[in-house]
Symmetry: C2
Subunit: 141 residues, 2 copies
DNA sequence: TCAAACGATTAGTTAAGCTAATTATAGGAG
DNA sequence: CTCCTATAATTAGCTTAACTAATCGTTTGA
């Protein structure tokens, strides 16, 4: 593909991703937890346990912001925060089983909506898209 | 595809979209404007002019929240807010040319990063992904 | 051993989210 | 034509989320 075609693809992929997540975000209301907290919880569940600085970097916020988000998650019983035994300045943030359950329930709601949408295209198109998802994973990893 | 396969695809597509936008979001710092304002400006540029209620619905926030975001955009010279001549209760929100320029510059930064990433996959894979983007557009429209 | 560096939190501000209340306009019933 | 109700946006007042600067504890190396 020439550079112009790649750029057009990037533009379309960008716009479609925004629309997709905007669509799915509506389901998050049902979790009863704020967007920033839900997003942080997701990182904790999939990448945790991790330090405050790591979590802040992953969420692209500064440590004080993340410190308060984590405080909220801990108060809500969705995460735990304990000093790292090897270096007691650091804190190891983990998800509680309730935190994992809440996140998984939310992810399932999102996926259910997306599955509905995927029925809009034909079977052969679904296969083509499924193959492309693997390519996309390599692009974003 | 069977239901299980579709669900796996949905899960993968969901995760990849999150990673993609998280990656591209880093570029938005350079715009010097906050996330919520940039996102609202994007809707105004592509779908505007529109009323406050429409804009709030598009951004999935309540009218008072959007009222203040728009106030910020107007103060920054990126949007205008004028009463609808047909119904003076309503307000018509439009982007200024500076707003359009700022948004377009940001979008170009994001697309540039994505284009770089798209070079990670082979030409034939790029073509497959480009076709899939069209399918994805139908899924999210 | 102790000074500097490092990791997290606290303090204090502004922006972003909400609900409830207010202001201004529109529109319909009498 | 008048008023009452409904509608659109904003204002008021709250909590949460973002930031920088300052502080507290811990670690480490000169």
């Amino acid at each position: 593909m020439n550079e112009r075609q790649i750029q057009d693809m990037a533009t379309g992929l960008h716009a479609a991703s925004i629309r997709l997540l905007r669509l799915l975000r509506r389901e998050d209301q049902a979790s009863g937890i704020s967007g920033p907290r839900l997003s942080a919880l997701s990182v904790i569940v999939f990448a945790g346990p991790l330090s405050l600085a790591e979590l802040a970097a992953a969420e692209q916020v500064k440590p004080p912001t993340m410190s308060r988000i984590v405080e909220g998650l801990v108060q809500a019983g969705l995460a735990t925060r304990e000093p790292d035994p090897a270096n007691r300045r650091m804190v190891r943030i983990s998800a509680t089983s309730e935190g994992k359950r809440l996140l998984e329930a939310g992810r399932e709601r999102r996926v259910r909506v997306l599955v509905q949408r995927l029925h809009r295209i034909a079977d052969s198109e679904q296969r083509a898209l499924a193959r492309a998802v693997e390519l996309l994973e390599r692009v974003v990893r």
